[in-house]
């Protein structure tokens, strides 16, 4: 019995002392964790680490996951050219810990992003070049990071993709777009039964400062509208299925990250945070991408972002047949690669 216990103890000691696995090559696939206070965040680095160029994805949500970005297109187009960093924010995806709800503050998310970049430098060298791709809620996280101290000097370029930096503006734009497009469809009798409740809600809740409950409902109606709108490019990727069965995504952790009470409380706290007037501090090159049919983060957010950003090197692309999910996958990914290669 004693021998078995010693063997078991030796196993765990050996397990805990494994050598660092750092891949510098064309097909890296390194998973490691970043621990800050009581939260441990999963970081996955895939692709061409030999390029020394790292594109860090700041995913949406709050409480979504970087697993949602691990698509065949990302592998075939982007990971060939650079390393792509998929990291799960606290309370999302494969992140773990005992963190209490009080630690879910936007500035902590920004500090996590700073720590991710520091850790990547530690592992892959101080000479690596970073590009930050922020998507949806990730725009808030990245805005918090970029406008703090001199953080932006760590980054060569910022890809602001279907993202938000101002929730109140986001809600007003979603409201306006739902009402406008909804009325057009009702007039033409296209999916009238599905548009009717959306339009009715918008009429009952006129523009103004929306509270967090209204904000949540507008977001849900935005997703509904994207299911019935015509003209979207069809996308056959089943990212969730692939994540569960090919990428070992912890499904219960992912689902709870999206729905738990801490997440809802955090969502409420975001309602009055806006970065429009602090963006003038940011002077690094930016690429702004929006789907024309995006009701969740309408393209007007990109216009406001560009109107306030301090950078003189700005680029904007509107994808005509996309909404909020990179529907024109190849076009999005090629635009990312082009922007990065133009700003090395």
């Amino acid at each position: 019995m004693k021998q078995h216990l010693i063997t078991l103890a030796f196993f765990f000691f050996w397990y805990g002392c494994q050598k660092e696995e750092i891949t510098i090559g064309l097909h890296a696939d390194d998973t490691f964790y970043l621990k800050r206070a009581d939260a441990s965040m999963r970081v996955l680095v895939r692709g061409n680490t030999a390029s020394k160029v790292f594109m860090v994805i700041v995913h949406g949500g709050p409480g979504s996951s970087s697993y949602m970005y691990q698509t065949p297109g990302m592998t075939d187009i982007v990971e060939k050219e650079m390393a792509v960093v998929y990291y799960d924010q606290r309370n999302a995806g494969a992140s773990q810990g005992n963190t209490s709800a009080g630690d879910f503050r936007l500035d902590e998310y920004g500090n996590d992003l700073y720590a991710v970049l520091k850790l990547l430098q530690h592992r892959y060298g101080d000479d690596v070049k970073f590009f930050v791709l922020s998507k949806s809620f990730g725009g808030m996280v990245a805005s918090s990071f970029m406008t703090k101290d001199n953080n932006q000097t760590m980054v060569k370029g910022w890809l602001f993709v279907d993202a938000s930096h101002n929730y109140q503006l986001n809600d007003s734009l979603t409201h306006e777009m739902l009402l406008r497009v909804g009325n057009e469809h009702l007039a033409n009798n296209h999916h009238a039964e599905k548009w009717k409740p959306i339009v009715e809600y918008c009429l009952k809740n006129p523009p103004g400062p929306f509270n967090s409950h209204q904000s949540l409902l507008l977001n849900q109606y935005g997703w509904e509208a994207q299911k019935i709108i015509e003209g979207l490019e069809q996308n056959d990727n089943n990212v969730l299925h692939d994540a569960i069965f090919c990428e070992n995504m912890p499904i219960t952790s992912y689902l709870l990250g999206r729905t738990n009470a801490a997440d809802r409380r955090f969502n409420h706290s975001l309602n009055n945070i806006k970065f429009s007037h602090t963006l003038k501090k940011v002077t690094i090159p930016v690429l702004v991408c929006y789907g024309k049919l995006d009701f969740v983060c309408p393209q007007g957010l990109g216009d406001d972002f560009l109107a306030h950003i301090g950078s003189s090197d700005t680029h904007k692309i509107i994808f005509e047949r996309s909404a909020h999910r990179f529907e024109e996958q190849e076009a999005y990914y090629r635009a990312f690669v082009q922007f990065v290669s133009d700003h090395l």
């Binding site: 765990f12 397990y15 805990g16 002392c17 494994q18 660092e20 696995e21 390194d30 998973t31 490691f32 964790y33 970043l34 621990k35 800050r36 009581d38 939260a39 441990s40 999963r42 970081v43 996955l44 606290r90 309370n91 494969a94 992140s95 773990q96 810990g97 005992n98 963190t99 209490s100 709800a101 500090n111 700073y114 720590a115 520091k118 850790l119 530690h122 069965f245 070992n248 912890p250 219960t252 952790s253 709870l256 990250g257 738990n260 009470a261 801490a262």
Partner: protein, 220 residues
């Protein structure tokens, strides 16, 4: 943290106090019996693992009832205190080792088929599925954390079915839900499936078993 530990201690106490109430029955006979050993493949659905443990028989109720068609129905209900050690491996997420102390009931039919229900409380230690680094944003210090992971209290509930063979062994299939807390998501639920064997070696951790016989007849 201290308040959290007090809550956990209270739940443990309440659980075992409730369990001890079962001992208030009226035994007809007592007999010395061996305890059971069990070992199972414990898959967290698709992620492999192992679970092994002990079942200490506490009480057996042999129920004989007469049915509407005048046939006799025999059912044996057994109650066990259980101790289990489990493990599963979820690549790139975590490895989890857990120790459970529980209560199990098993209802066995004459032909050998049985159903069971198990509840348990315990402790879980996870080991993160990758190298882990602690980053201090203020100082810029970065250090590796060895054996990084988390401690959780666990509440496990499960049910299953099986077949008991003549030679004091049985095969069983059980699904369980491990609920770990406190977690970043408040709780972290984890479904598992066990496929395993139970056997009763001779003179192994012999315990006193209370055997109660009950007869149920129809009202006149």
């Amino acid at each position: 943290m201290f308040i959290g530990m007090k809550r956990i201690a209270f739940i443990f106490f309440a659980h075992f106090w409730a369990v001890s109430l079962f001992a208030q029955g009226e035994p007809v006979a007592t007999t010395m019996v061996s305890s059971n050993l069990k070992i199972a493949y414990n898959g967290s659905i698709v992620y492999p693992g192992l679970r092994c443990g002990l079942e200490f028989p506490i009480r057996q109720t042999d129920l004989k009832a007469i049915l509407k068609n005048n046939a006799w129905k025999n059912v044996s209900k057994k109650r066990y205190a259980t101790l289990e050690l489990g493990y599963y491996h979820h690549p790139s997420f975590h490895d989890n080792v857990f120790l459970l102390l529980g209560w199990q009931t098993r209802k066995q039919r004459p032909k050998g088929f049985f159903t069971e229900f198990a509840s348990a409380l315990g402790y879980s230690r996870t080991f993160l599925g990758g190298e882990t680094y602690l980053v201090d944003n203020n100082t810029g210090n970065i250090g590796r954390v060895h054996q990084a992971g988390y401690n959780y209290a666990v509440l496990a509930l499960g049910g299953g079915l099986g077949y008991a063979f003549r030679h004091k062994s049985a095969l069983y299939l059980r699904t369980s839900l491990l609920t770990m807390f406190p977690s970043i998501n408040i709780i972290y639920p984890r479904p598992t499936v066990d496929l395993g064997v139970v056997w009763q070696p001779k003179h192994f951790l012999t315990t006193r078993l209370k055997v109660v016989s009950k007869l149920k007849t129809r009202k006149p």
